[in-house]
Symmetry: D2
Subunit: 131 residues, 4 copies
């Protein structure tokens, strides 16, 4: 199984009136980590869209364990594997860099869509060898 790490820093505009990163922003972090991960394998989300193939999220389960706040550095760890013919599962977690505390734990299910219909994962350019 492939794994990927991305280190980022909280930006102040990502914090809400509670002074902590807003719950929706973590999905931004997770998406950016997935796309960076895929790019390493030559899978380009934006390019695929232009070619008529859209990678979309079909389900997310996310547990919020700790809050990140202004200036915090953190690491997004992602792994991915295939489930059946149509689904890619990403297991992702975010840890605060300072103390390695678990911030967020998530499972994200992605599918490929072409002309409005699901396509086999292995038919997507770059996903040929995914396990």
């Amino acid at each position: 199984m492939k794994e990927h790490e991305l280190r980022l820093t909280v930006r102040d505009y990502e914090c809400d009136l509670q002074g902590i990163v807003n719950n929706a922003v973590y999905l931004n972090y997770l998406e950016h980590a997935r796309h960076t991960f895929l790019l390493k394998d030559g899978i380009d989300f934006a390019k695929l869209h232009k070619q008529g193939v859209d990678l979309v999220v079909s389900r997310i389960e996310i547990d919020y364990k700790q809050s990140l706040s202004s200036g915090d550095e953190f690491i997004v760890t992602s792994s991915m594997h295939k489930e059946g013919h149509l689904r890619v599962i990403f297991n992702q977690k975010i840890n605060r860099a300072l103390d390695n505390k678990l911030v967020v734990n998530a499972k994200v299910i992605g599918v490929g869509i072409k002309g409005g219909r699901p396509i086999r994962v292995t038919d997507i350019e770059g996903f040929k060898d995914i396990e």
Copy 2:
């Protein structure tokens, strides 16, 4: 069980390069619907924060069924109930107004935090009578 409906319209900046509403934006919609719902019962998220009580999300499960895109009107339906002493469960769904198609189905678990510690839901102003 209480229920609440909120009707909104997709704003163009909420769409991403695929031309559809980005997955993280739905959490914005759901949060805005929850806060509007709570306000009806006199529970003010921003005011509670100033009083030292923070309502935070501890878990979200969300299924993406359809995509919304530019100009789509949609309805967020929310219900809430208490689970144990510490958790409020929100069941939320988003339907496209045009054809009533289910767009998103979500379960959101919220908890109240005071001084870094979970507090009983019924100890939060406005939540006294929640079932």
Copy 3:
């Protein structure tokens, strides 16, 4: 000169750690008001993009006079006129509904792009009669 009004409410996730609407979010409000305004005249930002014409912002001047915060209702007032052959000028302001206080005053310059090149405003579908 045409004028347009849009009434909106601050959503909690739009506020930052200072408890007020973040400066960038006002550009979201202004864009949404412009697109709603244009739609009334049959000018559809998303549809134009699909036809190969992109309306883009070339300059913004914005004065922040007051802050909006959680729950505030506000009105975005927009007017537009043509300047030369290539530019559309939007004068926009945001007033808080409660006391009509001026929140933001902005001038936004937009241009039409086709195949990487500026096009005459009056060549854009729906802009034929703009003054």
Copy 4:
């Protein structure tokens, strides 16, 4: 005059349905660059807020010269100086890393607020020696 550089990468969720970074997102980039810049001098936006001092933007002038899109790396260059007793001027620009093309040129005026009133820039912790 002090100067600061920050190198960032476009994230896919920052692009809108035109496939380019949305105009409001550049204000996010510019703010993040300013806050990073200030932090180097020991001026912490979030900490100041907790101490009752808010740095707020009073005016932005921004010219959009080129568009950034998916995966683009870019450099935000910021300089700052004092104007009168109450205002800090930030001159900021964004250049695409690939070809050094100017993407955005901006002038941002910031003021310090305490108890609802403007305060002298030099009375803000860390700004004592600003010129």
